[in-house]
Symmetry: C2
Subunit: 458 residues, 2 copies
């Protein structure tokens, strides 16, 4: 399988079927894959909504079967363990009040530091390089404030034209804050005409074009709309060779694909934890800063936005205001973190790492390939196209279906909901389908495709 130049879904899936001794033609192919799935027990660790609670029609108002949940790219399902962990937090607060900062099983004074190791596993970093803090857009500002140091010669920020809107707003306002003009300092990576995705070669050629005028490159590791997984290692190295700082928005990558931020020499990265990391809506985000940036801190030249929680613990409660940055990512904290959110995140990361990113990715490659293969084999006049790259190494779990013809994606979403499938819709007329490997079975994928076929012909 490693010899193929471009690996396709069917390669992966034939290879796996072969390895497992399952015939692709078998009626119970999905069932057999599920039986052999080493992660299958993880599904039990999550709460699934029931069809009756999300449907928009009367017929299903009594249907207590679980939905097929294809929206882990937007908001992950709730890990059952979070309830008891939050109760533990409430018990500590009840029992110790302010003394909870230093008492209990999870003292609050280090509630975020306790998660560094687990976060590091998820993004391929040293524990000191990562820390949960703030939320994603805020962290992008925190990082850009520190790393974007434009000069007349080098002032451009390169970003995807189709980046998540927040990232565009953030880059624009950082450019303006530094007295530059987004019209001339913001370079948007545009796909070729009539294409949705953008190749590494094209990215490199645009980077080359702007060369030493580029101060920073900031791209989503997995594109939120198309599901494209960028070659972060290659792009990071290439942009750095031009002298740029490279940051990644990993909202759709963390918990979805394998990351090696430290080894790839990434400068910084930020992510949210409520998608593939299942920590709950709006839960605390995460931040990576490569250790080579934090070895020395000089408050007079460093551009970080200071706050007392970035100060060494030994200084933090002293009257003298001596600021010595905590080691690594911790030194970028401003405030004491939300204990409720750190607690939820700790519980959800334990599940992800219990499965391991490597095993999740292995399952995901097969699961999404299976999904793609089934989608491509749909017969008849169903007009949709998959805008996500065909090469499984260039995508995560998500496939984005551009719905053509007269079918409206918004209406399709409702039909799917009424048939017990949750997925989401994005302008223009795209359905995002994301079988998260932690809690999605091969049978779910098969059932989803059958429901989709029915819904498309309604």
């Amino acid at each position: 399988i490693n010899e193929a130049k471009e690996i396709s879904s069917s390669d992966i899936y034939r290879y796996e079927a072969n390895r497992l001794g399952i015939k692709i033609e078998d009626e119970d192919f999905a069932q057999k894959l599920d039986n052999q799935d080493t992660l299958k027990s993880f599904k039990e660790k999550f709460h699934f909504p029931m069809v009756k609670d999300v449907c928009k029609c009367d017929e299903q108002k009594k249907n207590e079967s679980p939905v097929i949940y294809m929206t882990g790219n937007s908001l992950g399902l709730q890990p059952k363990a979070i309830r008891s962990e939050l109760e533990g937090y409430l018990n500590d607060w009840q029992r110790y009040a302010v003394e909870g900062h230093h008492k209990g099983e999870h003292p609050w004074i280090s509630i975020d530091e306790e998660i560094q190791e687990s976060l590091a596993q998820v993004v391929g970093a040293k524990p000191s390089e990562v820390c949960p803090m703030n939320t994603l857009s805020v962290n992008l500002h925190v990082m850009m404030s520190n790393f974007y140091k434009p000069t007349q010669q080098r002032h451009k920020i390169v970003i995807e034209a189709g980046a998540f809107p927040s990232d565009l707003y953030i880059a624009e306002s950082q450019i303006r804050h530094n007295g530059f003009n987004p019209d001339t300092s913001l370079i948007k990576l545009e796909p070729l005409a009539n294409e949705f995705t953008i190749s590494t070669d094209r990215i490199k050629s645009i980077l080359s074009e702007h060369g030493e005028s580029i101060a920073m490159v900031m791209i989503g590791g997995v594109q939120f709309f198309t599901g494209q997984l960028f070659d972060m290692k290659e792009i990071t190295a290439f942009a750095q060779s031009l002298g740029a700082v490279v940051g990644w928005d990993l909202a759709h990558a963390a918990g979805n694909v394998e990351l090696q931020l430290h080894d790839w020499n990434v400068d910084f990265a930020c992510w949210c934890s409520y998608k593939y990391l299942n920590s709950g809506p709006g839960c605390i985000g995460g931040l990576f800063v490569h250790e080579r940036h934090t070895r020395e801190f000089d408050s007079h030249t460093d551009k970080r936005l200071l706050g007392w929680f970035g100060n060494k613990l030994a200084n933090r409660f002293k009257k003298e205001t001596i600021f010595e940055a905590e080691e690594g990512a911790l030194g970028f904290r401003c405030s004491n973190p939300s204990v409720a959110d750190c607690t939820s995140l700790r519980a959800s990361l334990a599940i992800t790492n219990g499965a391991s990113i490597a095993a999740l990715r292995a399952k995901s490659l097969l699961l999404t390939s299976y999904l793609e293969t089934l989608l491509l084999s749909i017969k008849g006049d169903h007009s949709f196209s998959i805008i996500t790259p065909r090469d499984p190494t260039q995508r995560g779990a998500q496939l984005s279906l551009h719905i053509g013809g007269k079918v409206s994606a918004a209406k399709l979403k409702v039909s799917l909901l009424n048939a017990g499938v949750v997925c989401d819709v994005r302008d223009p007329n795209v359905i995002r389908v994301s079988p998260a490997p932690l809690y999605t079975s091969f049978t779910d994928v098969k059932n989803f495709v059958n429901i989709l076929i029915k819904s498309l012909s309604e």
Copy 2:
């Protein structure tokens, strides 16, 4: 009572005793005050730690009586209602998953907007002027990034010399970010020699001295260390008359004293919610921006740090990246907020507003005056002095006791803990004592003073 030039504790407390027909000399004076306390039922709404869980000695390891909690200025007690509200949040996430953004009793898409009205009541604002978001130090950066626009003529930030360290770091880094030097641009309000507090007159005279070189004044409304309540109305008006922007750090003021941010014409304010607002450790902060600053938004000149959640809801999920700021404070959001934290805050604000800030402040004036009167009447050689202003209108709930002689405040704190009292210690040798009116009785105050006397003589 209104005629007195400076009101003293004993004035308040004699006046109240008289009004209530209670003799100060009565043995059961505290009990009688408690009986007449219209807020007494609120104590039941909170969880109190038991002595056995916080003490540091063996003798008390079975003592299941509740502590006397004097640390509401640091971390408020847990409202019992938060548990069921958080369960409601978990139920919604379990039941609806991503559809919870638009379903359930508290749809997440407006989970923060739902709290604007309650927050507005607490700080004396219009609902559109306030919003829960981020955390305190982060919000100070968000506000300073927007409002600090230094020029060669006007570049100074005025702050207390003894400000909470985070505020000093924030001001320093904002000054450096704008290419100025804290040595010349940061003006620190110093008390007179041998004094802890600083008068309005002195503040005004320092402000006058720096006149039109002042770009911003940023002070803690209630001083975290001394407990001094500043005359926010007067200082705001005076500094604005010099052309400065005025922001307040209300960490120790929100939920503690009466605020009229709108009427006082304050430019901006930020606070945390885990102290007198009892929302839990590290819970989401709050932000006020006066409506006159947000009537028009021009993305090309406005300095706010943009993020998608500040964009109008109608634009937020569109592919076109049109940024039109949401009305008022909402337009300063960057990220979608933590639903767990907004839920906790909603539950705790309901209690505060159930009591009403006016009633809380009325009780607090009496409660802290009673505390002060008892402390001042301690006989014998107990060397401590109260560094908080004697005038009740110049302080909130907290009294700070500077412990003199050979007694160490840190050791005193432990003796107090072992005797069932929680209070906190700050460098140098100060004990902060804060009878939060929501859950502290007059009897608690009386018992506290008796325990203090005993601990001091150990």
